[in-house]
């Protein structure tokens, strides 16, 4: 037993060397195949075998398939809704939907990139809930499949003009509209007599009650939205059209955004935790609102307050409101990755989520409370009835109160705002 530890050591070193060789080989390989794969993806779009099929044939092909649906899983309202829809899909379409609950859509973008880097054409994601920057990342990397939206029977009833542009970027039918969202503020009516209906009024509240106002930290989705909302409100209305086109120059950016930075410089020292710490997202801010640590929060789901009050997540004294000049609105989407192995079932699933029945259930404030992407007025009467029967709960926002949403600036403004914010405020 008292043996040779020298050869053992030599062999271990040799094996390590061997592993290094293996690693070099393996890691060199995916990159060459990945390039080839990217070329294939370009040449093969739209996938021919599905393009030639009629809808019924696609539905037949989908039967028996199992799909991985990547969607944020942080809300039980959302998760329960998707559970219901998945059981309907299993019953009526014969497809199995697996809701992969992710904490950040960028994780799924990561996965797709890794799969592409590994040269895989059979990915692990069939459908993805997406919008904005994540869509842009996928579109630029040519990781989305389509166009497919017009092929869905239920797309006939979509609202006019909806879903043509996602954060200023043309969607080209590569993602299907799933819900409409608008920036909603909420306040605690037990602590504030009236809500501050503008950015200036918000600053006034911060002066009167130091430490009770904050906003989610950019570049989180809601944090960046707050920056854009403030930018829009603080600049003269007639100047706003410059935001529709890309940032022209650093000088232009500095000039246009100067009021925003002045505003934030004044706001930050008055914020919760002196602005040293900001909520990671709108959800954390809502938890702070529920505990009265902060008095104002924001969300993108119009019926969030109604839903949360009914569920007991927010005290009954919380009320929703929007700013007088209107608030930003946008649409969220469903997309199919180019590497999705079950595209037929993915199409059937998206079509189902776009149906009047599913959209009405989604708009129900006691379940989720998201605005529909369908033109309810154009729906056949029996399908419209489901929308008419939706309950009104305490704390819900009426369509009149929401008004017309402001449109999102061009994505280049978003990038520039996030970068400048980080430069100024991340120490």
């Amino acid at each position: 037993m008292e043996t040779n530890h020298k050869p053992g050591r030599r062999r271990a070193l040799a094996l390590m060397g061997g592993s290094l060789l293996l690693m070099a080989g393996v890691s060199a390989n995916p990159w060459s195949t990945a390039l080839a794969y990217a070329a294939d993806a370009k040449a093969g779009r739209p996938v021919p075998e599905l393009a030639s099929l009629k809808w019924q044939e696609i539905a037949d092909k989908a039967r028996g398939q199992r799909i991985d649906f990547h969607a944020w899983g942080g809300s039980e309202a959302t998760n329960a809704y998707l559970r219901d829809q998945a059981s309907i899909a299993a019953r009526q379409q014969g497809i199995e939907v697996r809701h992969v609950k992710i904490s950040d859509t960028a994780e799924s973008v990561s996965t797709l990139l890794a799969e592409k880097a590994a040269g895989r054409s059979d990915g692990s994601i069939d459908v993805i809930w997406i919008n904005g920057e994540n869509f842009r990342a996928l579109k630029q990397a040519e990781l989305v499949w389509g166009p497919f939206v017009e092929r869905l029977p239920n797309s006939d009833y979509l609202l006019e003009e909806i879903g043509a542009r996602d954060f200023g970027l043309a969607t080209d039918g590569l993602e299907a509209p799933w819900g409409r969202a608008q920036l909603i503020f909420m306040y605690d009516s037990a602590l504030l007599e009236s809500p501050p209906r503008s950015m200036q009024a918000l600053l006034k509240v911060a002066r009167e009650h130091p430490g009770r106002v904050t906003y989610p930290q950019p570049p989180s989705f809601h944090g960046t939205t707050f920056l854009k909302q403030a930018l829009l409100e603080l600049m003269p209305v007639e100047q706003r059209e410059v935001l529709a086109s890309p940032v022209a120059s650093d000088a232009q950016f500095a000039e246009v955004t100067a009021p925003l930075w002045d505003y934030l410089d004044a706001l930050h020292p008055l914020m919760w935790a002196q602005g040293e710490r900001q909520p990671a997202g709108a959800e954390e801010q809502m938890k702070l609102l529920a505990q009265r640590s902060v008095w104002i929060a924001l969300t993108f789901v119009p019926q969030e307050v109604a839903n949360a009050r009914q569920e007991g997540r927010l005290p009954p004294t919380i009320e929703p409101y929007i700013h007088d000049g209107g608030t930003l609105g946008n649409v969220h989407y469903l997309a199919i990755p180019a590497s999705a192995p079950h595209k037929a079932a993915a199409l059937v699933w998206i079509n189902q989520l776009m149906s009047a029945e599913a959209q009405a259930a989604k708009a129900d404030p006691s379940r989720w409370g998201d605005d529909t992407v369908l033109d309810v007025a154009r729906l056949p009467p029996q399908e419209r009835a489901a929308f008419d029967a939706l309950p009104r709960l305490p704390g819900s926002m009426s369509p009149e109160a929401l008004g017309t949403p402001l449109s999102e600036p061009h994505p280049s403004w978003t990038d520039a705002l996030e970068a400048e914010w980080a430069r100024r405020y991340r120490n």
Partner: protein, 587 residues
Amino acid sequence: MGATLSQLTQWVADRWRVAPATGHAPLTPARVLRWGVLLLLLGPTALGLAGLVAPAFGLWPTLGFDQVSAVAWQRWWALPGLAEGFRLTLVSGLGGTLLAVLLTMGWVSAAAGTRFGERMERLLAPILAMPHLALALGLLWLAAPSGVLMRLLMAPFEVLVPPQYPLPDAHGITLAVGLALKEAPFLMLMAQTALSRLPVTAQLQAGQALGYSIPQLRWRILMPQVMRAIALPIGAVLAYSLAVVDVAQVLGPTRTPTLAVRLVELWRDSDPTARLPASVGALMLALLVIGMMALGAALGRSLLTWHRDWVLSHHPARASRLALTSDVMFGRVARGVLGVVTLISLLAFVVIGVQSVARSWFFPALLPSRWGWESWQQALAGLGDAFSNSLWLALLVATLAVILSVAVFERERESGRLRGFVVCLYLPLLLPQASFLFGFQVGWLSLGASPGWAGVVIGHLLFALPYAWLTLAGPWARFDTRLEQAARLLGRPRLEVLIGIRLRLMLRPLAISWAVAFAVSIAQYVPTVVLGGGRVPTLTTETLALATGSDPRLTAVAACLQACLPLLVFLLARAVPAGRSVSPTRG
């Protein structure tokens, strides 16, 4: 590539064929297992490193970066708030480790083996079992301005809104304390297993016979022995604390986050090229961890030397002469601190439990205004799969980890120490998880594997195995080998001696090591997500998804479920009879 592979295979095959002929390496089962472990650990680690190093030097062809360049380094150093990030990482990582070590020292010197210590140990079991994320949330719900402690204080004053104080603070102190509270029980467990193999009674009796008090003897004699024995676990704690992500997101500052959190932010950036600086950051963090471990080892060694010199030059007063020496005082203070720490950790546990059955619970209410099991019902509707996945995964991973650890020890005993091997075992603990696993993911997929169970099992094993090995290392080294020698001399085959004598007598350390591996597997987040492609939902992935939402009640339920499994396993492990009670008389 093909040529390289076949050459490599040929080379390996040659080695295998030649080796037995020259009599250097007979193919024992232990040897096969050991090579298996080495490949299992080295392969993924090497893959992970490749996926880290190449982008750091500007190589990422799919994104259009196909030449070695310094662009990644330039972008990394241009990040705002980097120096602050370094400072925070050091404060929280070093501070957390230091606090945990101090608590453990206090425990060894004042509590281990006493009745107080035993009671505390029993109470600490839930903390040991509780995943990091859950404990962090519990602590926050306890100590935040709107937390339960503040409500208790405010109850008589009819206050409507919570006070304002910075918690979590901007300097990483909250994070350090949170990490210490979670890591100290682990170190205490390690110290406990180390103590159980020391001739404690004999040493204390000898000391008492010379007239010294027990607290003096613990501080002067037991403490340095134990600290030396748990050097490796302390290293693991240090590496973990410097690179932790989930806890840092909950308890750390957000305006300027720690380096590890910054890496994950970059990794998740919707601009994929942000991964180039992220890779540089991952390397920097790995270097930082290695540097700090070296520093820590040097510091620890000189402290122990200093302690020895001090002990030798300061002769203690005899117990009979002084009723209350400073050593005794120290013991009382240490016990007080340990008691408070245990209490806080337990309260965090209770708060999570209450939160899970609360429907509405808003400041300043001391108790929920509405109770109900709805959250549990909702969770059970949605978490069934996650629960069973977690359970099976942890059972499998823990069992594999213990078997492999035993194989490693057997081989190590046969051929003397193999330093390189220990480093391999340790590498996964040293590298920042998120970045390292991405490299592994790319390699894994390009080998033709699909995301799913196999990848997740290997990913979990990478992290569970070192911990299982660590937990077992102390007891294994201190085992009385004369028992085995006797059995060998009586003509028993090696395997029978291993199973019949050693494993049987070491049943309890084996069970505890299994339980630690189980808990590690339950708590894994990054490997599960990255290598499972979301197809293996576990309680941990669901908890984190829920924690990003606005419903603390569901998060609490998930955290409870996540803590229950390891807790159960720990209690079972403790019920396993200690090996020494089995008398080795047959044979």
